[in-house]
């Protein structure tokens, strides 16, 4: 089996864009809906390139190009994207016009950019990359599906590297809808955020390597039985969980972690990056940065603690969506 490393990670989020500064000085957000902090895109894209791109596409393109450049890769063997909502902003505009204009005189640009796989294909077009290109849209486990695809192909030697992305935007209208159905914006819940995360995976260890991915597992548990991973996770130092302040969600993590990983300290990240369908990518990013820096900031502990230095460590990223889909990603330092 080939070793698989995360060599580069870039993000645009509620924290400072394209930066790891949050690790030392996280931006605190008290609103229940926070859009990502965008960099000045004009610094990165020619006006003719940027004018047709919605926010999610500009963000995805920028973080993807930055992640590839950071690992000296221009055309990855695979571009794999996870997105829960796809290009929801353009989808809304397109559908709105469809309703208002009676399905006539629809703008081609919004139509073209209203599909989920626009993100992955745009990255490939700009990189002139004709290799494997895939998009996973599986609500709260979209990112893990993308990561697992890359992981399995690399493990079997089919590809040597992969660009894996997690991209979601949150429009005011969609936030309002999700608030009404109780998915976002609840009292005590971490803010609704947006995600643009790109990471370069490689079977080649580099000087910038964040960590190694040891295992990825998805478990479906639709019958209310205790979650039972197929793999045995031993020697885990921390579990990074997707707690978000909603008891119904958090209790699933607490109950399963007590049973599966007793006495292992829990870390969390959604209070820093917000909740979104592809937020679990931030959990992997946060864990990977901890392993790279050899330190866990106190504010990441579920039970607030002091900063903790790491020597050799394994962090398990555990995400669950609606109590049915459970994912486990085991990371270790290099």
């Amino acid at each position: 089996m080939n070793s698989i490393y995360i060599n580069s990670i870039k993000h645009i989020s509620a924290q400072k864009p394209l930066s790891d500064e949050w690790f030392d000085e996280p931006v605190q957000n008290s609103e229940n809906y926070v859009r990502a902090t965008d960099p000045d895109f004009k610094q990165y894209f020619a006006p003719n390139t940027a004018r047709r791109l919605g926010k999610i596409l500009k963000r995805a393109l920028l973080v993807s190009q930055a992640a590839m450049k950071n690992d000296d890769v221009s055309q990855p063997d695979a571009i794999i994207t996870g997105t829960g909502l796809g290009c929801i902003e353009n989808t809304e505009l397109f559908l709105d016009k469809m309703v208002r204009e009676g399905e006539e005189l629809l703008n081609p640009t919004q139509f073209m950019q209203s599909t989920h796989n626009t993100v992955s294909s745009l990255v490939a077009i700009e990189a002139k990359c004709h290799n494997y290109n895939m998009t996973y849209s599986h609500k709260g486990i979209s990112f893990e599906c993308a990561l697992q695809d890359a992981f399995l192909q690399m493990q079997s030697g089919k590809i040597q590297n992969a660009l894996v992305g997690a991209h979601d935007e949150m429009t005011p209208a969609y936030f309002t809808l999700l608030k009404k159905v109780g998915y976002l914006g609840q009292s005590n819940q971490t803010f609704a955020g947006e995600s643009a995360v790109a990471m370069m995976l490689s079977n080649r260890k580099a000087k910038n390597t964040f960590c190694k991915i040891d295992a990825i597992e998805k478990v479906y548990n639709g019958f209310g039985l205790p979650v039972k991973p197929a793999m045995t996770y031993t020697g885990i130092d921390f579990v990074m969980v997707g707690t978000n302040g909603v008891a119904e969600n958090d209790n699933i993590y607490f109950e399963n972690c007590v049973r599966l990983f007793p006495n292992v300290p829990l870390l969390q990240y959604k209070h820093i990056f917000g909740e979104s369908y592809t937020a679990p990518a931030f959990g992997v990013y946060a864990a990977a940065l901890c392993l790279k820096n050899g330190k866990i900031p106190g504010f990441l502990f579920a039970e607030k603690g002091a900063d903790c230095k790491l020597a050799s460590a394994k962090i398990l990223c555990y995400n669950q969506f609606e109590g049915k889909n459970h994912t486990f990603i085991l990371l270790s330092n290099v």
Partner: protein
């Protein structure tokens, strides 16, 4: 006619999202495609939608598009002669 040219420039900027371009920056005699504004085939589709939506002109013959999209001036002349609203 001057008013129509100005309005057309503003509409083109808006519908094609030409950031940082002002009506005065667009030479009404310069080519819209290739050189000049550097528009492409998707922009042509957007302009066809614009003409129908705002001026009631249905462009059925693609070959005609090559002629009337030569410049803002040519486009405004065509619109002035054929508009239904």
């Amino acid at each position: 006619m001057e008013n129509l040219i100005l309005r057309l420039k503003e509409e083109i900027i808006e519908v094609l999202n030409l950031e940082d371009v002002k009506p005065a920056d667009i030479d009404e005699n310069a080519p819209l495609f290739g050189d000049g504004l550097g528009l492409d085939s998707i922009d042509a589709l957007e302009l066809i939608v614009l003409m129908e939506k705002n001026y009631g002109i249905k462009l059925k013959d693609p070959a005609l598009g090559r002629e009337i999209f030569k410049s803002v001036k040519v486009l405004s002349d065509y619109i002035a002669a054929n508009r239904t609203k």
